[in-house]
Symmetry: C2
Subunit: 712 residues, 2 copies
């Protein structure tokens, strides 16, 4: 038999060569750039060591088979990881463990949440609302701080109430005769819902319930309610169920809880801010407003999460975009090979602004975290010393932190969710494979826009603060501080009608920051006027309040970014500064100017021509200037292959071979390539004819014999 | 024992009362409004009967347990459904079955795809590229049209090539000695990838491969290659594997295929446009350009899909938004109960424009489908009659259809993907439950932005046509027809500098359509200038081309919407027209004016003040005017509870009870509420102390006995 020679139409693709070439041509050291991202050289090195420790850990490390786990497997696997983590926590400082958790949030968000609910929310609630003795008892004496003896959940939300905590309907009624509280779920709407850990794990819950004493409703307070005994059997009166499948984070055993007259001792009520004595006398502290602040810390952390998740997906999409070739660019010669995706201007336009955003997020998250730390320290020390002036100062800082963290949490999580999907789409069909990592990332991340403060509700609260404060400034009232300090310039900018941004604005950063301030001021003032014209109906201006909040977040991020760049003055940092400056310009041109272009134009801080020059014209120029540095800029995130966990985003860029191997490893072929349902397919394809199956009843012959009209 | 009386803090929530009240107050009949959406009364009634048939079908009907299926279960379940569908197809016309498929795409997209690959792509490829004899043989004689004997897959994309079909690397080499083709995969990059049905189901594939004859490469042609014999065993030389987990559509057995010198007879090459005779002479027809058009029909269908998916998710979010109460609106009195979510202006602002979009999509999809039908009929008849002039006319229509369908497919799928997530977010935490339906909808739909023409690549091609045609108009060349006809007005509008939209524009629809034309003309002209200034580098203007394509889609949709409203002149339609007119205005204000505000302002068709009036001012007014009608407007989609398949979106609005029931039914409680991993949790929580576990080696006592420094 003669076999015709097979023509190999071309050599196999070798994406890793492209990636290596760009890495070789790097003009800066990605490890040094990482100091900028993590905040300092020391932080950078500690983070790296911690990643290495976890990727070597046989239980904690993420792997491609994670993408094939069923819900049941994911939940069991997560418990094994929690067990493993409980050993780390025994020998680490709080700061170290917090950093470990921040890293885990990228490669195993469900582990992060499941531990975070216990340590951050359950214990956080006791710490925030309990007395020192209560905290000492449950957290230290019972060792729950080390995930020992007690596993807690956070029973706040109910089926019919989420954001409106004050409207919760579970009751905690004081029973004076027995000196106890009776916790009860009055109807299905008050069923505790979404409670992470309740379905299978938690032994205790911190329950938000209405305090009822002698028939009087004192509003929502917090209580520690045991759910399961040490044999892990449910306590009497406690009903718990599994909430079942979710969009993502299937490894978390979210549950529902119904309390049917469950009795707890009086001293299980957390009583830092409110107390009931054995005679049923209720005492409430003025500082009650601080008792819901357990969620604030989470919002600060989520800005860092936004950085880490965005940096992970942009690394995958960038490596794929550099290694993948498709079509020929218009500029190419006919004899050239196909062009790299990331050499197409549109592909640059889709991805490089996300890369710039990561650099803005990272530094902004560091600044916000420092700010939160300072605010908490001042407040804690003032409360400890009963220092009235210190408490006032701390509360003022906490309010500013509320504005900053609310605006950044909502804005950065929305953008990150979008970044994940944009990066997926930029990887074409392969982005839809579970092993690329995007699908799970999207599904796991999506909830961040909703939990710990729904983004729209946060955005409205932030916008409201802008409007209230501008009103105060215009009326000569209290002067805003912190993140809203710029509103004091309102009188100067409101009526100034000159366009102040010209087509050089990107390189004159102080001008740009000033323009954003002016837009924020005019936008807030516009809202104030609309509010007054509509009978103080805050809801009427809701959409505008959210937009203001988004722009405020960018003002914060851009200012922090530019301040940081300004502070980098050593000669070895010069090369970094040049590139960071381009990133800041691109961030300004796309995420700020272009995204809010209608706003900037309407508020007359820029002419239409200057806007066109700064966006259409300048964006592509900046993208192509940054293009040669994209591989080093993503290498600078220092994410190991374990953290990336993607068939398309490995460091060496050998993604075709790697992807094929992952697919084969995780889907081993049965000998005959028969599926479990092959017999059904064969039966369908080889089914008898329609006439045979219908016993010839529908045939023309039958018609002839049965239909009298056919008799003729 | 005394038990204190439990205070029920309030009555259980009753969302269905709100929904029923709004339904009772409807000013129009939703069934009649459905005629507008489906195109006619007849269509509407046929569609309804078909839905009823499927929701009663014990195998085809969707149910809440679908959200708990593993990948393996989903695949097996889908085959059972295909088997069931194969019986319907035996007794239905093509039009009927097509409508059935369009409905299935909403409640079981994976079934839709798995059948669509066989009927639409495999058979479509044979019909498009094969001779009459070839089509007759495989499709009719072998009965594959009835999903019998043969199950086909569509082996086009490869691991290293997706969008660039002409660059595929699989080879089909003619072996003259044996009068056969040898199909071969030269390297891993040429592995056929993403092939739906290949992993477990398909017996045959339509393979895109480079035709090599006598060492000469004739480019990519199509071939029928059997994969499995009638015993469902793989043919020699065929290697097939499972691609594994995906972001969504897990019920589809996407696979990869490698051919290792697989032999097929010469007459398995599809030879309508290219032929090889037994001497190795190759004959190619001029009409070859039509051979890739198999995907066009899919793009048309996806616009209807966009309507159906968007209407499903907006129905869920609207019913939830009407039934759910949270907080008190600013306008409420203190004694009022909590307000309905959809009474908040921001919530209206988030959802009602999506509702308006659905009405625009639906009618636009109908117009596009009619247009496609006409184009295909003209072309088919001309080809059949070898009518040269008719073919030219048909090709011109096909080109216009390419522009219209490319622009609409990309724009409407992008918006729909966004609509799904917006509606999820509008349902707060409950939107994250799998049973709400949003997560699966997002994951299943996401691929529509990528497959059958990547949205960005389609958008660029469409934009390119705008620029090429405006050039032709300005140079006095060929005059554009069909969807691009308006470009003939270019000379008049390019330099006209007057702002032409005033703050009344929304009620003067001809003015608005004209303004969009002007923006499209000026935008295209701007691109043309940028192109010429950059050495004809089309890639340089890629991002702008995509924006133009999006705006073109809205021009098509809005024009079709307004034309349809104008045609509704009977007196009973007056009440519908009033509401449809508001929807068209809201669509214009949000999806067109606001979304492209920077564009409209930059191209000077509107002043900043008029823009502010039309968006910020007018949008909220329109939303509140439409607000009372949202329940009837979503009822008008006539989606049954089976099609909705959501814990939050049932017709009667009793969603708390329903959601709780679904959660309990699908996650039955084990007697003791122990999880399979309870033993691990207990072992972790009750672990010995750190010192005991580390054999006292790390204690102070050990330090004292081992450390010489401690000797003192």
């Amino acid at each position: 038999m003669t076999v015709t020679k097979v023509v190999n139409s071309s050599a196999p693709p070798a994406p890793k060569n492209f990636i290596q070439a760009e890495r070789d041509a790097a003009v800066f050291n990605p490890e040094v750039m990482n100091y900028f991202l993590e905040g300092s050289q020391e932080r950078s090195q500690e983070t790296k060591a911690m990643i290495q420790q976890m990727e070597r850990d046989p239980i904690l490390a993420a792997r491609s088979s994670d993408y094939d786990m069923t819900k049941a497997e994911a939940r069991e696997n997560t418990i094994a990881k929690i067990n493993r983590l409980s050993r780390y926590i025994e020998s680490e400082t709080f700061d170290e463990f917090e950093r470990r958790m921040s890293l885990i949030s990228v490669f195993d968000p469900q582990l992060h949440t499941r531990v975070g609910v216990h340590l951050g929310l359950f214990i956080g609630c006791i710490r925030g609302n309990g007395t020192f003795a209560q905290m000492n008892y449950w957290v230290l004496e019972k060792e729950s701080a080390f995930i020992k003896n007690i596993y807690g959940c956070f029973a706040m939300t109910e089926l019919a109430h989420g954001s409106n905590v004050a409207g919760l309907e579970t009751t905690a009624t004081y029973d004076e005769d027995n000196d106890q509280f009776i916790i009860n779920t009055p109807h299905v709407g008050a069923t505790k819902w979404w409670i992470g850990g309740a379905a299978h794990s938690a032994t205790h819950s911190s329950v938000y319930a209405r305090l009822i004493v002698k028939g009087k409703d004192y509003g929502v307070k917090t209580f520690v309610v045991p759910l399961r005994d040490s044999n892990h059997e449910l306590m009497p009166g406690v009903t718990v169920g599994d909430i079942g499948s979710k969009m993502g984070r299937e490894g978390i055993d979210n549950g529902w809880i119904q309390f049917s007259n469950v009795k707890i001792p009086r001293f299980f009520m957390l009583q830092k801010y409110a107390k009931v004595d054995s005679n049923g006398n209720v005492e409430q502290a003025a500082l009650n407003q601080l008792s819901y602040s357990a969620l604030l810390g989470g919002r600060v952390v989520m800005v860092k999460d936004a950085f880490r998740w965005s940096s992970r997906v942009i690394t995958i999409a960038t490596r794929y975009g550099v290694g993948r070739r498709q079509f020929q660019a218009a500029k190419a010669k006919e004899s050239d090979p196909e062009s790299q995706l990331l050499d197409y201007p549109l592909h640059q336009r889709r991805l490089i602004p996300i890369l710039a955003m990561c650099y803005a997020f990272s530094n902004g998250a560091n600044v916000l975290a420092d700010y939160a730390k300072e605010a908490n320290e001042i407040l804690d020390s003032a409360v400890a010393n009963d220092d009235k002036a210190g408490i006032d100062r701390g509360v003022a800082l906490a309010k500013s932190l509320f504005v900053a963290s609310g605006s950044l949490k909502s804005t950065c999580t929305w953008l990150t969710l979008n970044n994940i999907d944009q990066c997926r789409q930029a990887c074409g069909g392969h982005g839809y494979s579970a092993y690329s990592g995007f699908g799970k990332a999207y599904n796991d991340f999506a909830v961040q826009c909703t939990w710990e403060g729904d983004n729209n509700i946060l955005g409205m609260s932030v916008g409201k603060q802008l409007v209230k404060n501008i009103k105060s400034v215009l009326e000569g009232g209290e002067k805003p501080e912190g993140i809203l300090e710029f509103l004091n310039n309102a009188p100067k900018y409101i009526n100034n009608k000159d366009a102040i941004l010209d087509s050089d604005a990107l390189s004159d950063t102080s001008k740009l920051l000033q323009a954003i301030q002016v837009v924020l001021i005019r936008g807030s003032y516009q809202c104030l006027k609309a509010l007054e014209a509509n009978g103080e109906d805050w809801d009427y201006i809701g959409a505008d309040l959210v937009t203001l909040s988004k722009l405020l977040a960018h003002f914060f991020l851009l200012k922090a970014f530019l301040d940081k760049i300004d502070s980098m003055s050593s000669p070895d940092e010069k090369v970094l500064v040049e590139i960071l400056d381009k990133l800041a310009q691109l961030y300004s041109a796309t995420i700020v100017l272009e995204a809010f272009s209608g706003f900037f134009l309407s508020y007359s801080v820029i002419s239409a021509d200057a806007m066109t020059t700064l966006t259409t014209g300048r964006i592509q120029e900046l993208c192509s200037q940054i293009r040669p540095h994209v591989i080093p800029l993503t290498d600078a995130f220092q994410l190991s292959d374990m953290m990336i966990n993607s068939s398309l985003g490995g460091y060496d860029g050998n993604f075709y071979e790697e992807y094929f191997k992952i697919v084969k490893d995780n889907n081993p072929a049965p000998g005959s390539f028969h599926a479990p349902y092959t017999a059904s397919i064969k039966a369908m394809l080889q089914r008898p004819s329609y006439d045979d199956r219908t016993r010839q009843e529908f045939t023309d012959e039958t018609a002839e014999s049965l239909d009298p009209e056919e008799d003729d």
